[in-house]
C-alpha cells in the first residue's frame, strides 16, 4: 500500500515539477525547505496514524492528527499558497 502512496507522490512531484517549469514559477529556497519538512512530518504522522490503529491506541491517533498532522498540512500549505499567489500575480 505504501508503495502505491509512494507512486502517487512521485506522480505528484512530477506534475508539480512540470507545472513549475512550464509556468516559469520561481520557488524560493525556504519554500522548498518548509515544503520538504511539511511532507516529512506528514509522512511521519501518516505512518503513526496507521500504527496507532494497529496498536488500538485511538487516543494516540487523534493526538497525532491534531498536534502533528495539522502543523504538517500548514507547513506544506503555506509555501503552496505563496506559489499560487505568485503565479496569479504574474
Amino acid at each position: 500500500m505504501w508503495i502505491l502512496i509512494g507512486l502517487l507522490l512521485g506522480i505528484l512531484f512530477t506534475w508539480t515539477a512540470i507545472k513549475l517549469t512550464s509556468k516559469n514559477l520561481k520557488v524560493l529556497w525556504y519554500e522548498y525547505v518548509l515544503g520538504a519538512l511539511g511532507l516529512l512530518l506528514f509522512l511521519f504522522v501518516a505512518q503513526n496514524l496507521v500504527g496507532s490503529i494497529d496498536e488500538w491506541e485511538m487516543q494516540a491517533f487523534w493526538m497525532f492528527v491534531v498536534i502533528l498532522g495539522l502543523p504538517s498540512l500548514l507547513l506544506m500549505g503555506i509555501p503552496a499558497l505563496r506559489i499560487v499567489r505568485r503565479y496569479r500575480a504574474t
Binding site: 500500500m1 505504501w2 508503495i3 502512496i5 509512494g6 507512486l7 507522490l9 512521485g10 506522480i11 505528484l12 512531484f13 512530477t14 508539480t16 515539477a17 512540470i18 517549469t21 512550464s22 511532507l39 516529512l40 509522512l43 511521519f44 505512518q47 503513526n48 496507521v50 500504527g51 496507532s52 490503529i53 494497529d54 496498536e55 488500538w56 491506541e57 485511538m58 487516543q59 494516540a60 493526538m63
Partner: protein
C-alpha cells in the same frame, strides 16, 4: 491568452524523473515499518480472517464419499511398527530402527553438515518435546532419562567452540526453544553473589571443586567449573498485560512462566547432548539465581523503578526472566544503558498507580525497604511484601505498574522506536516531556481497570487474528518483518 502546446525538454524530464524517484524512495524507505491495513478491517464472525484471496466453500475441494468412509483403526496407521513389518516383511521395523540409530551416530562421528552433534541435539531438544516430563530438576541426570544421549554415547567428544560461538549458538537455541533473548554473566566472585545462599526448602547452594553438580538433604552443590549463568527472557502479551486486574493480565504472566520452564528444560537437554552440564531452578522458576543481575550484567535489560521487572529495549517491562547455569564457556555480555534508569527518576507513573504504594516514589537510593531487598544496589527498592499483599487481596494479581509504563508499547507506530527510545537513550532533557506526553497520548490509559476507554474496553475474547500467544514475536527481528 494564446493556446500553445506544452513541450518538455530532456533536462526537465530527467529532473522530473529524479523528483519522482525521491518521492517513491522516501516512502519506500519507510515501508519496512508499515503494517498491513487489513488489520484495520476486522470481521465480526468470530472466525480467523484469512487473506482476501481465500474463499469459503460448502464442500471441501477434495470430495468425500460419506457412504464409504468409516472410523479408522489406528493400528493400521503406517506410523506403527507392526504395519511396517506386515508390509515390508517380518523384522523390517526393528532393522529400520537400528539403521536409523546407528546412522545418527555415524553422521555425528563424521560431522556431516546439518547432521553434526549440535544439530541433532537441537532436533532432539524439540523433537522429544516431553523434556524429562517437565519435572523441575536441578541437574540433568536427576531425570535419569536415557532418551537423551551424551556425546560419549555416539563415540564423539563434546562440542567445542570459541566463547563467542558458544554465546551465538545458545542465543539461537534459546530463541528456537521459546526465549526472547539471553544475557550471559560469569559467576566470578561478583557474579556468585547473585546465586541464592539458601533455597526456599532450606538447602544451601554451595560451590565446590567437583566434576558434576549433586545434591543431598542439606545442600545443592554447584561445581566451580559451572561458571556461566544464562539469563533468558520470555515474552508476555502486551494486549493482555494492559488489561490490568483481570484474568487476562495474569494469564499472560503464567504463560511466560510456563514457557520459561519449558525453555530451561530444553536448554538443559541441548547442553547435555553436546556434552555440557546445565543446572536449572528446581523449586520454581524464580529460584537458584537472581534474575536481575543476569539481565543487567548480561546486557538484556536495565534496572528500572518497577522493581519486579527490569526494562528491555524492545519489549520494555513486558518480559519475564529465568536462568540456567552451565560449564559451557561463553562470551559474557555487558550492561546496557538505554536511558531507562534515568527516565524513571522523572517519570514515576508506576509509583503513582501502585494501589499499595509499594513502588519507591523517590530518587534511587542505597537503602532497602525490607529484608526482601538486596543490599548494595543503588536502586528503587520495591516493597515486595506490599506488592504481594495486593496481588493476593485482589485475587487476580495486579500489574498496574507495568501496564502504565511508557515503555510497554507495541512497535507499529514509529514514534516509539524512532523518536522516543533513541532520544531517551541519548539525553534526559526531554524525559519530563515524554512522561507527560505518554499520558496525553493515552499510552497509560489502561493503568487502572476503572479507567478503560474506547477500544481498550473491547473484550479480549473479541480480538481476532491475534498472533500465537497473542505476542508479536517478530519485534526486533528486522529480517523477518
Amino acid at each position: 491568452m494564446s493556446k500553445f502546446h506544452h513541450t518538455i525538454g530532456r533536462r526537465d524530464f530527467m529532473k522530473a524523473l529524479g523528483l519522482a524517484g525521491v518521492g517513491i524512495g522516501t516512502v519506500a524507505a519507510t515501508s519496512p515499518v508499515f503494517h498491513d491495513m487489513d488489520e484495520v478491517i476486522s470481521s465480526s464472525k468470530g472466525t480467523w480472517k484469512p487473506p482476501w484471496w481465500v474463499k469459503e466453500v460448502d464442500k471441501p475441494t477434495a470430495d468425500v464419499d460419506w457412504d464409504l468412509t468409516k472410523r479408522f483403526d489406528f493400528r493400521e496407521a503406517s506410523i506403527n511398527m507392526p504395519v511396517i513389518d506386515k508390509t515390508l516383511g517380518p523384522g523390517s521395523a526393528l532393522q529400520l530402527y537400528k539403521t536409523w540409530k546407528s546412522g545418527i551416530t555415524k553422521n555425528i562421528q563424521e560431522a556431516k553438515p546439518g547432521r553434526e552433534l549440535r544439530d541433532y541435539a537441537l532436533h532432539d531438544m524439540v523433537g522429544r518435546s516431553n523434556c524429562y516430563g517437565m519435572k523441575r530438576i536441578f541437574v540433568d541426570y536427576e531425570a535419569d532419562d536415557d532418551a537423551y544421549l551424551y556425546p560419549s554415547d555416539h563415540g564423539v567428544s563434546r562440542w567445542e567452540g570459541t566463547p563467542e560461538e558458544a554465546t551465538k549458538m545458545m542465543r539461537a537455541v534459546a530463541r528456537l526453544a521459546g526465549a526472547r533473548d539471553i544475557g550471559v554473566m560469569e559467576l566470578d566472585e561478583k557474579g556468585k553473589t547473585s546465586v541464592y545462599s539458601i533455597e526456599r526448602d532450606g538447602k544451601e547452594y554451595v560451590f565446590e571443586n567437583c566434576d558434576r553438580a549433586y545434591w543431598d538433604d542439606h545442600k545443592r552443590v554447584i561445581p566451580e567449573k559451572d561458571r556461566w549463568c544464562i539469563t533468558f527472557t520470555t515474552m508476555e502479551s502486551q494486549d493482555m498485560s494492559k488489561r490490568v486486574g483481570t484474568a487476562f493480565c495474569e494469564t499472560t504472566v503464567m504463560d511466560a512462566y510456563n514457557v520459561g520452564g519449558f525453555v530451561a528444560q530444553r536448554l538443559q537437554v541441548f547442553l547435555r547432548m553436546i556434552g555440557y552440564e546445565c543446572l536449572t531452578a528446581s523449586i520454581d522458576r524464580n529460584t537458584m539465581v537472581e534474575a536481575c543481575p543476569g539481565l543487567t550484567m548480561g546486557g538484556v535489560a536495565e534496572l528500572s523503578r518497577l522493581g519486579m521487572t527490569s526494562a528491555t529495549p524492545t519489549d520494555g517491562p513486558g518480559v519475564r526472566a529465568f536462568k540456567v547455569i552451565t560449564d559451557l564457556p561463553m562470551a559474557v555480555g555487558k550492561p546496557i544503558d538505554m536511558g531507562i534508569f534515568e527516565f524513571c527518576k522523572t517519570c514515576g507513573i508506576c509509583a503513582d498507580v501502585c494501589p499499595e504504594s509499594a513502588i519507591w516514589p523517590d530518587d534511587p537510593t542505597w537503602d532497602v525497604s525490607g529484608t526482601w531487598n538486596k543490599a548494595g544496589i543503588f536502586n528503587y527498592p520495591l516493597n515486595g511484601v506490599l506488592c504481594r499483599k495486593y496481588q493476593f487481596s485482589d485475587m487476580m494479581g495486579c500489574g498496574r505498574c507495568r501496564a502504565a509504563c511508557p515503555f510497554l508499547t507495541k512497535d507499529f507506530a514509529s514514534i516509539h522506536e524512532f523518536v522516543i527510545k533513541p532520544v531517551v537513550a541519548k539525553t534526559s532533557i526531554f524525559n519530563s516531556f515524554f512522561r507527560n506526553m505518554s499520558s496525553v497520548w493515552g499510552y497509560d490509559s489502561m493503568k487502572s481497570r476503572d479507567n478503560l476507554t474506547g477500544e481498550q474496553q473491547m473484550s479480549w475474547w473479541d480480538i481476532e487474528n491475534a498472533p500465537v500467544h497473542y505476542i508479536d514475536t517478530t519485534r526486533g527481528c528486522i529480517q523477518y518483518q
